[in-house]
């Protein structure tokens, strides 16, 4: 029995990290109907930037986030303003191809500069510390911190969206960009702010990812798929739904991996397919 409880707990905690990957994807899709194919590659890019900051400046990983997140925010704003705003249209082709192109560029630049070796961000033993919670049951300190961060960021995003001026502008632009523009909202700026937040979150997620496991330049696509599945499983339109989707995906993978080590990721995929077939709007949809 303990082994299954353990699997579920580990799954929930990993799900927090998946939710961190997925929030930005959910945010960008919600506001611009744009799916950023390069999302997973941006996670890996942030892991590499985190690694360079940790090794180059000799900072602790958490201190490194204070450097990585501002870089990510600026990168997101510039990416949207400079490139992605040119691709917004009803036809999904343009934004898909352009973000796909960005994905290929990031992967291959990382390969060219960092080689295909796997890397890790070392955090002075934090990655191996654990808290015992029962007999034969313990949780890692790092996964707990990641999960708590995911919960806080979800609450923060929901507050930003629901209770602030900028959140109102986000919602207005999402509902009707033409009308929003008539009310004096600068859509290009609003879109860029949304992407800045989305990529900014990846600054946190990327450093966590690098601390939790090893990473390599071509790992991004797999992370994009996890993030996408979390969004679909949770249901579009609410950040709590995305968090729940990440957690459910994490649980499915953890249970699958206990049944057969080759089936962990596959179990998550099968859950995604089942959700599409039987609950196509996800578990917690909130149609805006």
């Amino acid at each position: 029995m303990t082994i299954w409880i353990d699997a579920i707990i580990q799954g929930v905690l990993v799900g927090g990290l998946y939710a961190l990957f997925a929030m930005g994807l959910s945010l960008m899709f919600g506001i611009m109907r744009l799916v950023n194919v390069a999302h997973g590659d941006l996670v890996i890019l942030m892991s590499f930037i985190g690694l360079m900051v940790v090794e180059g400046l000799g900072l602790q990983p958490f201190a490194a986030m204070a450097v990585v997140v501002p870089i990510a925010l600026c990168m997101g704003y510039a990416l949207q303003r400079g490139v992605l705003n040119h691709t917004i249209s009803k036809d999904p082709l343009r934004s898909l191809i352009v973000t796909f192109g960005i994905s290929i560029v990031i992967q291959n630049l990382l390969l060219a500069f960092h080689s295909a070796d796997t890397r890790a961000i070392h955090s002075a033993g934090l990655e191996s510390q654990s808290l015992p919670i029962a007999e034969n049951l313990a949780v890692g300190v790092l996964p707990v911190i990641m999960f708590a961060t995911a919960v806080m960021l979800t609450a923060g995003l929901q507050w930003l969206f629901g209770s602030t001026r900028i959140g109102r502008a986000f919602r207005a632009t999402s509902d009707d960009d033409g009308a929003a523009a008539l009310m004096g909202i600068n859509n290009a700026h609003i879109y860029a702010l949304a992407t800045a937040i989305a990529i900014g979150i990846l600054g946190v997620a990327g450093v966590f990812h690098g601390m939790r496991t090893t990473f390599a330049p071509t790992d991004g696509p797999a992370l994009l798929i996890y993030a996408f599945q979390a969004v679909i499983i949770g249901g579009m339109g609410s950040f709590w739904g995305t968090l729940a989707g990440g957690v459910l995906l994490g649980i499915a993978q953890a249970i699958g991996a206990r049944i057969d080590p080759g089936w962990g990721v596959l179990a998550g995929h099968l859950m995604f397919v089942a959700v599409l077939l039987f609950k196509p709007n996800g578990f917690f949809p909130k149609t805006r």
């Binding site: 194919v37 999904p92 290929i104 560029v105 390969l111 679909i232 080759g262 599409l276």
Partner: protein
């Protein structure tokens, strides 16, 4: 785009009335057909005199022709942008292993069956991916290809993660094998172009492009949107299945990563985009360009791919019709006339 306008035009303007004609063939189109017939004859004779390396190169290029045509049919004409068509390359390739290695069917004859296998697999898969729309459809197709990759990697009979070899070709001597592979791939590439051309000139093609331009408007005109999308998805899978089988006839070895790997997608999509999405000649042009560049720059590895990614971004934003679409518009050159275009005679 212009096709939907063409529908109304064709309905209202009868040839000769008020100096308008509906144009369905062009002089360039006829020249293209002549060129195709001549080049087909030329290609078929190649195994009798050409060097083996050129046969191998052209077989590979022919696979890209098929894939580019089939992606363009789905994404460019049908508006169903997929990043997961490698699912059907993989199914085609592994179907070849099952049919030739295990069932003992002649590998060259099995190629067509591999296409059928991919088309059959596409039917239930379409139930899953059509739950998603627009950009989410694209990522959904990719997730499905990943699922298939993992399933095959976990299947020991198919060689698991490290893959397996096409042992059924042991009985053929090298020259025969390469010649037949070449003929099969040439046949598939001409066949794919002809198929797309005929489909687009038919009622089906008109419905397809109408749905791409406005799903709502086409539904209100009585087009069965669900059936049209389903059909184009299955046809595209069929083509990819054949291309996959032929590709692995050439390499003789298959593995889940090579067959279902996501590296296929940028290859095919960039060919179509850079060549000219939504035209028949564009993807062919893109495939030749891509193939030539890859042979020249293959030593540059990741820098070459970086440049290709940047080129795709630039073309998509500033030349959305691709290189060939740009030429078509600039010189009014229609090599494959699939549109109905209204011409106003200069003298009334």
């Amino acid at each position: 785009m212009s096709t939907t306008m063409g529908v109304t035009a064709a309905a209202s303007a009868r040839p000769g009335d008020g100096g308008h004609v509906v144009e369905r063939s062009t002089r360039a189109g006829i020249a293209t057909m002549v060129f195709f017939a001549v080049s087909l004859g030329f290609s078929v004779s190649m195994p009798f005199w050409a060097d083996a390396i050129y046969l191998r190169w052209l077989s590979e290029l022919a696979c890209y022709f098929v894939m580019a045509q089939m992606w363009n049919l789905l994404g460019g004409y049908g508006g169903l942008v997929s990043i997961g068509q490698q699912a059907y390359i993989g199914i085609g390739g592994y179907a070849l292993i099952v049919l030739a290695n295990m069932a003992g069917i002649n590998p060259f004859a099995a190629v067509l069956l591999c296409g059928v296998a991919a088309a059959v697999a596409a039917m239930p898969i379409s139930r899953i991916v059509f739950r998603l729309h627009g950009p989410t459809f694209a990522i959904g197709t990719w997730a499905v290809a990943e699922i298939l990759r993992l399933l095959v990697a976990n299947t020991t009979v198919l060689g698991g993660g490290s893959g397996t070899s096409l042992l059924a070709l042991r009985g053929f001597d090298r020259a025969t094998r390469e010649a037949i592979t070449f003929w099969v791939s040439i046949g598939a590439s001409y066949g794919s172009v002809l198929l797309v051309y005929l489909l687009l000139r038919s009622k089906f093609g008109l419905a397809l492009t109408a749905i791409r331009d406005s799903e709502l408007a086409s539904r209100s005109q009585g087009i069965d949107v669900g059936r049209t999308k389903f059909l184009v998805y299955v046809i595209s899978a069929f083509g990819f299945g054949i291309a996959g089988a032929i590709y692995f006839l050439g390499t003789l070895r298959i593995s889940p990563d090579a067959a279902f790997g996501v590296s296929w997608s940028p290859l095919i999509i960039f060919m179509v985009i850079i060549g000219g999405v939504g035209t028949i000649a564009g993807p062919l042009f893109g495939a030749v360009l891509f193939f030539a560049l890859s042979k020249v720059f293959e030593d540059f590895g990741s820098w070459y791919l970086t440049a290709l990614g940047l080129l795709a971004i630039v073309v998509t934003i500033w030349f959305p019709k691709g290189i060939f679409g740009f030429i078509e518009d600039r010189y009014d050159l229609r090599l494959f006339p699939v549109q109905r275009r209204l011409r106003v005679r200069s003298t009334p």
